[in-house]
């Protein structure tokens, strides 16, 4: 993982001092609410429904055990003893006091952490694949590129006051676990015909009120040109993005208005001026950053023998077998696996972690995974490098801390925003909906039989819960002051990205689990062999689901004819 040098450390410490000064001036009445607003947002500080919320940056989700223990300490001392993993792989505190925030930032700086640009109209935390560096299907580890982007985007003097927020994601695989096509900029590591590694650039994707799948504006960008090209995109956006209407201010609206072709040409024209300026990356710099992401000291292990042992253990213990199937993933190194700790047991807000759980994760990381973990955009935690011989032991320990629910990538592994319980933007609560669905589908065999299936919940159209790209999406809406839920079907955030379609009129809170059950029954009736939900949906379309969920509409339609 990237370790700070003296310069990195000083930059973060000077940020703490800067924000202390800003907070002091605000509390003394020298800085107005309007002025303090963007400044505090760029330090991750929101004022929420009940209290301030502080979003701590976790660059591309990577955390070490020292940082986890510091986070545990912070949640205990400055908050109510728990935190929340976000869909940008960050960590949120729900109850800090405004005047404590500079102190919290100072504590974070001690462990090379901060809250820089986790909110506000600036370049946000760059996200990536939670299995980066450990995955067989990877062309190249995306994390060094995320770190290069992190440094470039940190306190970028030209792009701190953009028309709107700006999110970048990097993926190193042909498949896509980083949802790059629903980002302002999506970067896919690719090879060209001469076998050189570079980047395919998507631009203008995003969720929110106007969900859009990104467009490719460059098929191949050489490695050294990454930052000057990003500068060109951002400059075109900064100058021409809509600043009059915040709902039309994201880059996706500009790209749509101009067409991707014209937008791409504008970027190329801008880049012509700047591609050979000092901002061009050097091989020395690329290698310096890559040097922080070298392989951990893996042992040479007998993969076949270990697999046999695990098989024997799994035969004896069905629960362990289920966990292996859902929460354990193949690793590029023989004898190792990647393990996902589920933060989605029934009855806990998806993605929430207590202080003692943070410490438990730190211990698991120290014992089983070279002291590092990754926060995922699906709001779970990954131990990327676990020896297969340790899986059983790890499973038993994970169970004790509540991390072993065998539900990864299943119906109950929901992405869910904090919703109306916390967020002042929300139209409706989302956490209780997640819980009622989990309670309805407690039969783990049924859930496993459904296979890979994403169910995403947002409490409003800002779409923090990524409902547009859930196979099943649930959106909280406000109907004359009452909370209702709209169901959408057919979304996907993978390389085959698609946006979900609205099924029909919305439902009251108590109806949602039964509606989900009806939708699932149509899938089960229609699937062929091992077909996944999304594939069945794409084959049979939305109508059979509509007919099941809204039979009265169908009857009316028929009468009308």
């Amino acid at each position: 993982m990237y370790l700070y040098n003296e310069q990195d450390q000083k930059i973060i410490e000077q940020r703490v001092a800067q924000f202390q000064n800003q907070t002091d001036r605000y509390l003394a009445g020298e800085l107005s609410d309007d002025e303090f607003l963007p400044l505090r947002l760029q330090n991750g500080l929101y004022i929420q429904r009940l209290a301030p919320m502080l979003r701590i940056a976790v660059p591309y989700g990577l955390l070490n055990s020292i940082q986890l223990r510091k986070l545990a300490h912070i949640t205990r001392l400055y908050d109510k003893g728990y935190c929340h993993v976000t869909t940008r792989q960050n960590i949120q505190l729900n109850w800090p006091k405004l005047e404590d925030v500079p102190k919290i930032l100072a504590e974070l700086a001690q462990v090379e952490m901060h809250a820089v640009q986790t909110s506000g109209n600036c370049i946000r935390n760059t996200t990536s694949d939670q299995f980066a560096g450990a995955s067989r299907d990877e062309l190249e580890d995306p994390r060094p590129w995320c770190e290069i982007i992190r440094q470039w985007s940190t306190f970028h003097p030209e792009f701190a006051f953009l028309p709107r927020k700006f999110k970048i994601a990097v993926s190193g695989t042909d498949g896509d676990r980083a949802a790059i096509q629903v980002h302002d900029i999506g970067i896919q590591i690719v090879k060209n015909s001469s076998n050189e590694v570079g980047f395919k650039i998507y631009v203008g994707g995003g969720l929110g009120r106007t969900p859009v799948i990104g467009s490719i504006i460059r098929e191949f960008l050489p490695q050294k040109d990454l930052l000057t090209y990003l500068d060109a995109i951002l400059r075109v956006y900064n100058r021409h993005g809509n600043r009059a209407n915040k709902y039309k201010a994201r880059i996706k609206i500009l790209v749509k208005a101009w067409t991707p072709e014209i937008f791409a040409q504008e970027v190329e024209d801008e880049w012509d001026y700047t591609k050979d300026t000092p901002g061009k990356l050097t091989l020395t710099e690329i290698n310096r950053v890559k040097g922080h992401f070298t392989l951990p000291p893996y042992e040479i292990l007998d993969d076949k023998k270990l697999d046999e042992e695990i098989k024997t253990q799994a035969k004896k213990n069905i629960a362990f077998d289920k966990w292996l199937k859902r929460n354990v993933r193949a690793h590029k190194i023989d004898g190792y696996s990647s393990v996902t700790l589920s933060l989605k047991p029934t009855g806990v807000a998806p993605g929430d972690l207590t202080d003692s759980q943070l410490e438990a994760i730190a211990e698991l990381a120290d014992e089983f995974s070279f002291s590092e973990v990754r926060a995922t955009h699906n709001q779970n935690i990954v131990l990327a490098d676990v020896k297969k011989s340790n899986l059983y032991n790890l499973w038993e320990k994970a169970k004790m801390s509540g991390f072993a629910t065998p539900n990864i990538n299943t119906l109950t592994d929901m992405i869910c925003c904090p919703g109306g319980d916390f967020c002042s933007l929300a139209n409706a609560k989302s956490i209780p909906i997640a819980e009622s669905i989990q309670r309805k589908f407690e039969d783990i065999d049924y859930v496993h039989d459904l296979g890979d299936l994403s169910l995403n919940i947002s409490g409003c159209m800002n779409a923090c819960g990524h409902h547009h790209v859930g196979n099943i999406g649930i959106l909280g809406v406000d109907k004359k002051g009452a909370e209702f839920y709209q169901i959408q079907l057919g979304g996907s955030s993978g390389i085959d990205a698609s946006l979900a379609k609205v099924l029909g009129p919305s439902f009251g809170e108590s109806e949602v689990p039964d509606v989900i059950e009806k939708i699932l029954s149509i899938y089960v009736e229609n699937r062929k062999d091992d077909e996944l939900f999304i594939d069945t949906y794409r084959r049979i379309g939305i109508d059979p689901f509509k007919e099941k969920v809204y039979p009265e509409n169908l009857a009316r339609k028929k009468r009308g004819k």
């Binding site: 310069q7 000083k10 930059i11 800003q22 470039w152 003097p157 701190a160 006051f161 001026y273 000092p278």
Partner: protein, 166 residues
């Protein structure tokens, strides 16, 4: 006389900003900051030795282009401080059009933007009214080092470090 920050000092400032919708005779014997469009429309009739121009955040700096160096002073307007277009305009003036005169941020920039403004090539700062300018000056140096290149300095940190190491 109004005060501004110029370089790293608080100084009196004599420049008079002419509004966009100005009509009639220009004041005589004053240092005038003309709206960019006014200059474009009236350039033949004007005596440039006494004038600078100001560019609004939604205007195309390309219209001034390489003629920027006709002016001892160019100002860029921040109608609200969160309108970040002025940062790009400044860099274009310095990098693409090689403007080497005084570049001033006007309108409503705030103290907490000074470091970014300076890095993008601004050399004088007409901050929001009521700002304690003496106290604000320290914000010009909120950070010692920056990762990315801009105007000050033009090189990103990784280039500066490699120059230092060689």
């Amino acid at each position: 006389m109004p005060k501004i920050i110029k370089g790293t000092e608080v100084v009196d400032d004599a420049w008079v900003i002419i509004d966009k919708d100005f009509e009639g005779q220009l004041p005589i014997g004053k240092l005038l900051l003309l709206p960019m469009q006014y200059w474009l429309d009236n350039r033949e009739k004007l005596n440039l030795t006494v004038a600078g121009i100001w560019i609004d955040s939604d205007e195309s700096v390309e219209l001034v282009g390489h003629e920027a160096n006709l002016f001892p002073l160019i100002a860029v307007n921040f109608p609200i401080f969160t309108d970040g277009r002025g940062f790009s305009i400044a860099r274009l003036l310095r990098e693409r059009y090689e403007f080497n005169g005084q570049l001033r941020a006007i309108g409503n920039p705030i103290q907490d933007q000074l470091f970014y403004l300076k890095r993008c090539g601004f050399t004088s700062f007409d901050l929001k009214e009521g700002t304690n300018l003496e106290a604000a000056i320290s914000s010009l140096d909120d950070f010692d080092k920056s990762y990315q290149g801009a105007i000050i300095p033009p090189e990103p940190l990784f280039i500066l470090n490699s120059l230092e190491n060689n």
